[in-house]
Assembly symmetry: C2
Homo-oligomer: 401 residues x 2
């Protein structure tokens, strides 16, 4: 992907003199997301998309949404201005159900906003941030916007290599270490308990703020839940939670939780950023959760997504054989396939021409870093019959290369 | 107001070693909003508050909200991830009803977020921003967070002094000129047409991006609407719109509109900031507007708010006499009273002790700038009988000084 530099601003209307307003340095460096651009291509009819990270809208809990909306509307005070930190009812539910009660929580417009607030609160231009590669694209965007210096650590199958991690912490003392230990986007990987314990131990001795992003944590298809790193360490941590994958993403409700001293600066920044996130939707989310969304709706989601992941994995192995290496998906929304003897970009391009959209792996690396020949495939959005048809088209494209 | 410096971060939990994570420079400079702190004090029972900028929730259009929610829920696709720029239906409505159709629009989480995105897109630390004083506090927060150098221009009764403005544009060529020409917060003032034309003319010859914030524009109680400055100039402008004052503020729907080249960078930044604003609420707002909110609900609001403004003005003049100078309120949500022989801070403190909250005027000046002895009084939130009681308490406090 070549980064598109934004030109200086030229006013498009009628004018007597050409007036140019230059963008800030950080904005001049930004580029549109490759994935958003692919998503535009997927608007074409008959296109099958494995490119986005979208949940299956046919599984949205329609009746629950109706019920939650009715309860929300019964108290229209939630349409008034509210607290920057978020709806007290929703915060209380999160404190009672998802985080240790010693922690403070701020509700954000998706966990993406939490990431952005963290970067603004803690990073000066040039500060060092450590990420595993491949890395969630939205995090790379935020850290590049903050003009951070990004250091990468290649993922192993069970999380970061502890020796390498210690070396980096020693040599660079990064300001932040950002990671997605549960069902990583894009790799789908899940840190083992041993890795989590070792990382937790390391964090205790280095001055690095650990950001544990866990949007997919509830979408586990095999095995038992593993403790969060932030529960295993005494070091300063901020954990990010999201309801986009277990409720609906359009509602844009996420949160950041950590010690009060870690969260307080985010509240101050959010006040300037947007005063607060929309309250009626926070209240709707509260009612969804209080009425048993996770107990009753989540198992249904897990059942369907697990089935889709198995179908996609099975078909890919059958049709591409040893031209692709897939790790077994134990959770989340993505398969990560390492290609053997195939160019990921050539395959993505040929697939698009065959009516199926996929994302080449190097998109998930910071600019200037070379990525492997790999693919990210989303298995949650398409129906099973579309998955079958899409993998046929993908295989056809691969066979033509 | 003394600014409270945030201490370096200390992790509050149990730990073996004390680990400190320092905040970014911009965050170290931030201070909590004085008004938010006053709002906390107003949570006490029997406190009458003229301090916030809250609409009257007894006037929220409950049936319309119910109807809009029902229409929104009938198409649950709006619960899926959506476009960063905003819901296409709402954008189309805005383009058809509120802005020239050559302009581009981005939906934001209140117009506060639009301001924040503009500052991030256009300002490097040290860049110069021109504001009229007094100034909307949320704008000052955003510009201080962007580490801008803030230049002030004192308001006259009909807008900025044109000679002074030209001098500043010539000498400093500020990157942005931020203003609220319609029923200013906190001063309530409204620029005359002549002033607007003169400012529009000046903008044509200086490389300054004009930000026209118009959240109160629809709340006009006297006279005819006056053209927006951004409609009178060929210079680059971004106008901000908000539905917080005409629908409900908790929904947090605002927008920025301008030439496509001005808006495109905001879209890119918003993608990193929060992907997009909550979609179901954008859709609800679309239905509210499409179903005639402005035609039918707005006149009712204007009627009630006008009555409240008259009651408050009348009572203040009657009880404080020549100790206060009030401009006649022709729109918006605030009265601005210049005090004669009374300290605004002493009066605010004594009033709070008497059970009524008001905001002293110097809060609306950048730190380091001295403000006048003045008060901002909100007349939209309290009922008429509470306004009467509140002004009695305020007068009692003034008489005790």
């Amino acid at each position: 992907m070549t980064k598109r530099q934004l030109p200086p601003l030229r006013y498009a209307g009628q004018r007597r003199t050409i007036i140019m307003i230059t963008l800030s340095q950080r904005t001049q460096k930004m580029s549109p997301s490759y994935i958003r651009e692919i998503l535009n291509a997927t608007q074409q009819p008959d296109m099958i998309s494995f490119a986005g990270g979208l949940p299956d809208e046919s599984l949205f809990p329609k009746q629950r949404l109706q019920d939650a909306a009715a309860k929300m509307l019964a108290d229209t005070r939630c349409f008034q201005y509210g607290e920057t930190q978020g709806d007290p009812k929703l915060r209380e539910w999160i404190k009672n159900h998802q985080i240790p009660d010693t922690l403070e929580v701020i509700i954000t417009t998706g966990s993406q906003q939490a990431l952005d607030l963290i970067a603004r609160a803690y990073l000066n231009p040039g500060d060092t941030v450590l990420v595993e590669t491949p890395c969630y694209l939205g995090a790379l965007q935020v850290f590049e916007l903050a003009e951070a210096s990004i250091i990468t650590l290649p993922q192993t199958i069970s999380g970061p290599d502890i020796e390498q991690l210690e070396q980096i912490l020693q040599q660079h003392t990064p300001k932040l270490f950002y990671s997605v230990p549960d069902f990583h986007n894009p790799s789908g990987r899940c840190w083992s308990l041993e890795t989590r314990q070792a990382v937790a131990h390391l964090l205790n001795t280095y001055s690095t703020l650990f950001i544990e992003d866990a949007p997919y944590r509830a979408l586990r298809y095999e095995g038992d839940h593993i403790a969060q790193v932030s529960d295993l360490t005494d070091a300063p941590t901020i954990r990010l939670g999201s309801f986009s994958k277990v409720a609906t993403p359009g509602m844009r409700i996420g949160y950041a939780a950590g010690a009060a001293t870690c969260i307080q600066p985010l509240i101050l920044l959010k006040q300037a950023a947007d005063l607060h996130s929309t309250l009626p939707i926070q209240r709707m989310m509260y009612h969804l959760l209080a009425d048993g969304l996770l107990e009753e709706h989540l198992p249904r989601l897990v059942h369907h997504y697990r089935e889709k992941s198995l179908v996609m994995t099975h078909m890919l192995r059958k049709t591409l054989g040893d031209r692709i290496s897939l790790s077994d998906p134990v959770g989340g929304m993505f398969l990560w396939g390492e290609l053997h003897g195939i160019s990921a970009h050539a395959l993505a391009k040929a697939s698009l021409e065959n009516g199926v959209a996929i994302v080449p792996g190097d998109v998930f690396y910071p600019s200037g870093h070379e990525g492997p020949e790999a693919l990210r495939l989303n298995f949650t959005h398409a129906s099973i019959s579309m998955i079958e048809e899409g993998i046929k088209r993908l295989t056809h494209a691969a066979n033509m290369l």
